[in-house]
């Protein structure tokens, strides 16, 4: 029995013709299952051009459209496996970004290639096409073996940030979704770039935008009250690249080894947390990084043959804060930071240490320390669950605790621990503000009890005074 199934949206209609499986007794009540499709037609409101073909077109169309929808959402390319038979379907985002070219390469007839069909879709039309496909996937009475399968794209396909100044430069990045028929493969043009909204705009350290420093007064007030100020440009005097360089050059260098050490650890943590695509780094990237007293990265400069072009492989552009003329940094710490090609972060004071860093003010009363140590062991034991897949050795940390028992500072003591930080209860328990670490300084203002904490694979926790 021939059956038609139609998925209609305001701008798009997907029509399938096929055969039902055997007619079941209660066919009056339930829609029969279409188990074979021999004709597929996809048409758009107000367009003469349409796609038509067999089941292979349906599969290729569904796959290309589904992958492109994901690209549209995230800006990350979804590679498509090559399907050898049937019409190839491809979607390409147009340069103007507001149109989507749907291209279909018909099967060559008698060895002669047929010109591809191209239909330009607006975003709403594209969405209706995606929705028609999703309704088909969700329909369990039509080709029930075809269902929506979604999987995130690998980080291999994530593009590095492109700095604003380079945006006009040509760069070849694949973006279209491709389901390619073997014979049509040479007809396929290079897809245009798609960029994620949040990564489309990069910036460089020398950027000269206005910036003001403002208090944290984030409120969720109503739009009316905010709308009036919406068109005012950011106020406050800008620091030009040259001014910034002057300020950095003129700023007092932080030499106190303890403060330098705390800023170094704070900076390392920021960088470790934000450095995502470590595999992209193919050679050691070396920077001179200037950091303020509050731990804000103020400027960075590639050195020792490192090219500024690769800044975006590092988390530096993401992290840099712009000082203003209102509040120029009075003192800075400078570090040599190396992002190595094997994904390791190295950071050291540019001019080395003048003296031995301490851990700031310390609690030394033995009774208080004993009590704090016990409380710390208890807190950690409750929460520590070793993941045997990740843990090959024990994790050793130095942990600084306030008199009230809050974990205000910690630092990995063995190499394994940096990457496994998030496996431990420590990040969740960390409250630096309990020791006065915050907006002004990264050095604890309250005395801390210092402990060595060993987290073991068997779930046990050992806490001893830090030597």
């Amino acid at each position: 029995m021939n059956i038609k199934r139609q998925y209609s949206l305001p701008n798009c209609r997907l029509l399938l013709e096929g055969l039902a499986a055997e007619v079941v007794a209660d066919s009056d009540l339930t829609r029969p299952i279409v188990s074979m499709v021999f004709h597929v037609e996809c048409s758009f409101a107000g367009r003469e051009q349409r796609l038509s073909g067999g089941k292979a077109l349906l599969e290729n169309l569904a796959q290309a459209v589904s992958a492109y929808a994901q690209e549209f959402l995230s800006g990350v390319r979804h590679p498509m496996p090559v399907k050898p038979d049937g019409e190839a379907v491809q979607l390409i985002r147009s340069e103007s970004r507001d149109l989507h070219h749907l291209r279909c390469y018909p099967k060559p007839a008698d060895g002669e290639a047929i010109a591809p069909i191209q239909i330009d879709l607006t975003t709403v039309q594209l969405f209706d096409l995606v929705e028609a496909i999703d309704q088909f996937f969700a329909d369990t009475r039509t080709l029930p073996e075809l269902t929506l399968q979604l999987a995130p794209a690998s980080r291999r396909y994530r593009q590095a940030d492109v700095p604003v100044v380079q945006r006009s430069a040509p760069f070849l990045v694949g973006a279209g979704s491709l389901a390619i028929a073997a014979l049509a493969i040479f007809l396929v043009p290079v897809p245009g770039p798609i960029e994620a909204p949040e990564r489309r705009l990069g910036e460089t350290a020398s950027q000269t935008e206005n910036a003001t420093s403002e208090d944290d007064d984030d409120d969720e007030s109503t739009p009316e009250s905010e709308a009036s100020e919406s068109d005012a440009p950011p106020s406050g005097p800008a620091l030009s690249a040259a001014e910034l360089a002057d300020v950095i050059a003129g700023a007092q260098q932080i030499v106190d080894p303890t403060e330098l050490d705390f800023i170094q650890r704070y900076t390392r943590r920021q960088l470790e947390d934000t450095w995502q695509d470590r595999a992209e780094v193919s050679q050691d990237l070396i920077y001179r990084v200037s950091v303020g007293r509050d731990g804000a990265i103020l400027a960075y400069e590639p050195v020792e043959g490192t090219s500024a072009v690769v800044d975006d492989q590092t988390p530096l552009p993401e992290l840099v804060f712009q000082p203003t003329q209102d509040a120029p940094p009075e003192a800075i710490a400078e570090f040599k930071v190396v992002f190595t090609d094997n994904g390791v972060l190295q950071i050291n004071p540019w001019a080395g240490y003048q003296g031995t860093p301490t851990l700031g003010p310390e609690i030394d009363d033995p009774e208080t320390l004993a009590a704090l140590g016990e409380a710390l062991a208890e807190t950690l034991s409750e929460r520590w669950q070793a993941n045997p897949d990740l843990l090959s050795e024990e994790l050793v940390y130095r942990v600084g605790v306030t008199e009230a028992g809050a974990i205000a500072d910690y630092d990995p003591q063995n190499a394994a621990t940096f990457e496994l930080d998030s496996e431990t209860p420590l990040p969740e328990l960390l409250t630096p503000e309990a020791a006065g670490i915050g907006d002004e300084t990264v050095v604890p203002q309250e005395p801390l009890g210092q402990f060595e904490v060993v987290l073991r694979k068997d779930g046990s926790v050992e806490v001893t005074p830090f030597q």
Binding site: A62, Q63, S66, A67, A69, F72, L73, S74, V76, H78, K83, D98, T122, T123, V124, V130, E131, Q135, A138, L146, L148, Q149, L150, A151, P152, A153, S154, R155, Y157, R158, P197, E198, L201, E203, Q207, E209, N210, A211, S213, E214, D218, E220, T222, P223, E224, E226, A227, E229, S230, P234, D273, T274, Q276, A296, P317, V320, F321, Q322, S422, P427
Partner: protein, 209 residues
């Protein structure tokens, strides 16, 4: 279909009962302990776009959380605000990370709100297309210009000007408008039959091995 599914059951069931709606979204494999700053940023921005679409947007988000039985994840306005402050662009950025469960709850709320606003979202995107085809400035359309104005106001009042990207957006209004319009497009895709799943999985694009 040749795309492989990466769906696995939740390996660490939480101690309190899991809101059923969270199961509508698959866990990425391997299940990350927490979300990346990029994911947190995308979630906060899509919610910001919703707030620019409807007055009282954050109240509707809380109401939606209650309707969907997500109280155990988002119990009040402060919690919602804290979760959103995991966006590194925020003035009140906390350096905390979202758990997968919290991220799911935000993605679900965004998608449900978007679905309620389907007609408006479609109208605005059609208007944008028409205005642009005629070569007119986008401010010509009252409703669209209202959306953009509110989005910019929200962005300005909540985001940290000392972040270079935020400063860039705030001094380049057309770029900020483009961001608002891209988010509007993303919201449209959230309204579909599988919109919620599509949006959720897309958050992990470029985040997995």
């Amino acid at each position: 279909m040749n795309l492989s599914a990466s769906v696995s059951p939740d390996s660490n069931p939480p101690s309190h009962p899991q809101p059923l709606i969270l199961d509508a979204l698959p866990d990425p494999t391997p299940v990350p302990a927490e979300c990346s700053p990029r994911i947190q940023q995308r979630l906060d921005l899509i919610l910001l776009a919703i707030e620019a679409l409807e007055l009282g947007g954050s109240e509707y988000m809380l109401a939606t959380a209650r309707e969907l039985d997500l109280n155990s994840v988002i119990d009040n306005r402060v919690t919602l605000w804290r979760l959103r402050c995991t966006n590194p662009w925020r003035r009140s950025y906390t350096r905390n990370s979202l758990t997968i469960r919290q991220a799911k709850a935000l993605a679900i709320i965004a998608s449900y709100r978007a679905r309620q606003l389907t007609i408006l979202i479609r109208q605005l995107l059609l208007a944008k297309q028409q205005v642009q085809e005629k070569g007119l400035p986008i401010e010509q359309h009252f409703r669209l210009s209202e959306y953009l104005e509110r989005f910019r106001a929200h962005f300005r009042s909540r985001m940290n000007l000392r972040r270079a990207k935020v400063a860039f957006y705030l001094s380049h209004e057309p770029e900020l408008n483009t961001l608002a319009l891209e988010l509007l497009g993303q919201l449209l895709f959230c309204t579909g039959t599988a919109g919620m799943q599509r949006f959720w999985i897309s958050l992990f694009d470029g985040e997995v091995a």
